[in-house]
């Protein structure tokens, strides 16, 4: 049994999601290889080679993989798939985009966002926005799997895999990358942050989100948002936590002015400690919060900032 993990990276740094997918892949048993497809990715390949449990890193360095668009990446994965029993990728934006394309080309029913590996062919995955857990057994000879990264710890950096350059596959030439508009932030990345402060519709405006920035800076936290806050234009959509946004599981999740709709809970209810600050004591968020404060956020948030200053943060 040999498994191929497709690395998530930005051509410069290996994303933490890869280390988590490697942990899931090692649970399948057998060898784990990592594919790094990109442009100018020697550093990424070196980082991937250090992940515990990885025996070989394949590097496809070519301009067509620079932005990991689905068509060329799926073609590359399919060209390699003959030697592998399973293809595993983190369920990130890139993974969700190319993996089903590769699965269909291999005539395999993909298993999306697994949270547990029961055996090499049996997996647990959430359905209905995380309100039910399905255990599925794949009857496909080859498995194509995406991994919910919050459900697996990152592999340690104690490995020393070999690195092998491989040739690019034929480019299907169906799409062309034009541009990217990335949100700039000095804060930790949402999906790997230890602490997240999230705001909802109750924040009332984008300016008011800066109140959360101050708390986030003191705690070294990332800032997230509910769909209502994104739709109202308070913050960009990549802040969104939930079924249709990012799934997070930090040590501490502070939900401010968020009612706690099913779709939002789907993205954060596996957080270790949940705090809710909301003036509506009937808000569903209080049913999952470890600590709830019924208060007007416009008084509670500045008070929280002062209190954090008092304890030296």
């Amino acid at each position: 049994m040999t498994t191929l993990v497709i690395a998530e990276h930005n051509n410069e740094n290996l994303n933490d999601a890869t280390a988590k997918a490697v942990t899931a892949a090692t649970k399948l048993g057998g060898d784990v290889h990592v594919l790094v497809a990109g442009q100018g990715v020697d550093g990424v390949a070196a980082a991937a080679a250090k992940l515990a449990g990885v025996s070989k890193v394949l590097v496809a360095d070519d301009a067509q993989y620079a932005h990991r668009t689905a068509e060329p990446l799926a073609a590359l994965v399919v060209s390699l798939a003959g030697s592998y029993d399973a293809i595993v990728t983190p369920a990130t934006g890139v993974g969700k985009n190319f993996a089903p394309r590769a699965a269909a080309l291999l005539d395999v029913q993909q298993i999306s966002e697994i949270i547990e590996v029961d055996s090499a062919d049996t997996f647990k995955r959430p359905i209905y926005a995380g309100n039910a857990i399905q255990t599925v057994k794949s009857t496909d000879a080859k498995k194509v799997i995406t991994v919910r990264t919050t459900a697996f710890p990152a592999a340690a950096q104690t490995g020393s895999a070999s690195i092998e350059k491989i040739a690019a596959a034929a480019n299907p030439g169906l799409s062309e990358w034009v541009s990217e508009n990335l949100t700039k932030s000095d804060r930790p990345e949402l999906t790997s942050a230890k602490i997240i402060v999230s705001g909802g519709r109750g924040m009332q405006s984008g300016d008011n989100f800066h109140m959360l920035d101050k708390i986030a800076d003191k705690l070294g936290a990332a800032v997230g948002a509910s769909r209502a806050a994104v739709d109202a234009g308070f913050v960009p959509n990549d802040y969104q936590v939930g079924q249709t946004g990012k799934v997070v599981a930090p040590d501490l999740y502070i939900a401010v002015g968020i009612s706690g709709a099913i779709q939002h809970l789907a993205g954060m209810k596996d957080s270790k400690v949940i705090v809710a600050i909301n003036k509506d004591e009937e808000a569903p968020i209080f049913q999952v919060a470890d600590y709830g404060l019924v208060a007007d956020l416009f008084q509670a948030v500045p008070a929280l900032e002062q209190e954090l200053t008092k304890i030296g943060l």
């Binding site: 080309l105 959430p126 255990t135 599925v136 019924v294 209190e307």
Partner: protein
């Protein structure tokens, strides 16, 4: 330009679902069903393309039980021209849905297929990508904006760090993200008119697809329930509790 829009009948997004006590699945008896929210956005986008004079015909397709006709009627009331129902009492997995849709695409020859990015019941997020693969077409997933540039599509997509723009060859598969548009409500006159629009009935066998599942569902269980928490009286108390719990400070 002809646009095909697959739509799925799912449990209404507001419903708090219940897992059956025998762990065979989720209890769908007497539960409110609706069109998958992402598919409403897909239909809305197709109808807007028609209103802008870019699309000539919008065909709505659903694969599933007989009641999926209602979902197609909703699409017709929103402005789709006609429907195709592929009837199946079995649960059809994304790969098989994509294979049936491939058959429909080959018969209907649309220039653009717009799907929702995922169904809110199985949360797979696969069908659009799989259909693009089977057809050998370009894919524009998680779309928040569709524009045309000559004979190509300029598509803005939601990616993890922000937004990305791609230029895609036509014909194309697009999957709609929530922010692509705000779907309209069907008016009563349009609901009445939709009753007269044609719906063709087909079966998976018409497209040579065997819908046998590749993933055997061994069981469906409740997720672990969180312990009930406590209400704190003040910000001071909150901070001291968080310090005690060791998550701050």
């Amino acid at each position: 330009m002809k646009v095909l829009v697959p739509v799925k009948r799912v449990v209404d997004y507001n419903v708090k679902i219940r897992v059956k006590s025998d762990q065979t699945g989720v209890d769908l008896a007497n539960v409110k069903m609706s069109m998958n929210p992402f598919d409403e956005i897909a239909i809305e986008e197709a109808v807007r393309l028609k209103e802008a004079g870019k699309a000539t015909e919008v065909v709505a397709v659903s694969i599933g039980v007989a009641q999926s006709t209602e979902t197609i009627r909703t699409a017709l009331a929103m402005g789709a021209d006609r429907g195709i129902l592929v009837k199946s009492d079995e649960t059809v997995e994304p790969l098989n849905v994509a294979k049936i849709l491939k058959g429909i695409v080959e018969a209907e020859k649309p220039d653009l297929v717009i799907l929702g990015k995922q169904a809110i019941d199985d949360d797979s997020n696969q069908t659009g990508q799989m259909l693009a693969a089977l057809l050998g077409w370009a894919q524009g997933t998680f779309a928040s904006k569709i524009e045309f540039d000559g004979d190509k599509i300029l598509l803005t997509r939601e990616i993890d760090g922000g937004l990305q723009t791609l230029k895609l060859n036509m014909p194309t598969i697009v999957t709609a993200d929530l922010r692509l548009n705000e779907p309209r409500y069907a008016s009563l006159p349009n609901i009445m008119k939709a009753k007269k629009k044609p719906i063709d009935e087909k079966t998976p066998a018409d497209y040579g697809v065997d819908v046998k599942a590749r993933l055997e569902v061994l069981k469906v269980t409740e997720p672990p329930q969180r312990q009930a928490g406590i209400k704190v009286e003040s910000v001071e108390q909150l901070v001291s509790k968080l310090k005690e719990a060791g998550v701050i400070g």
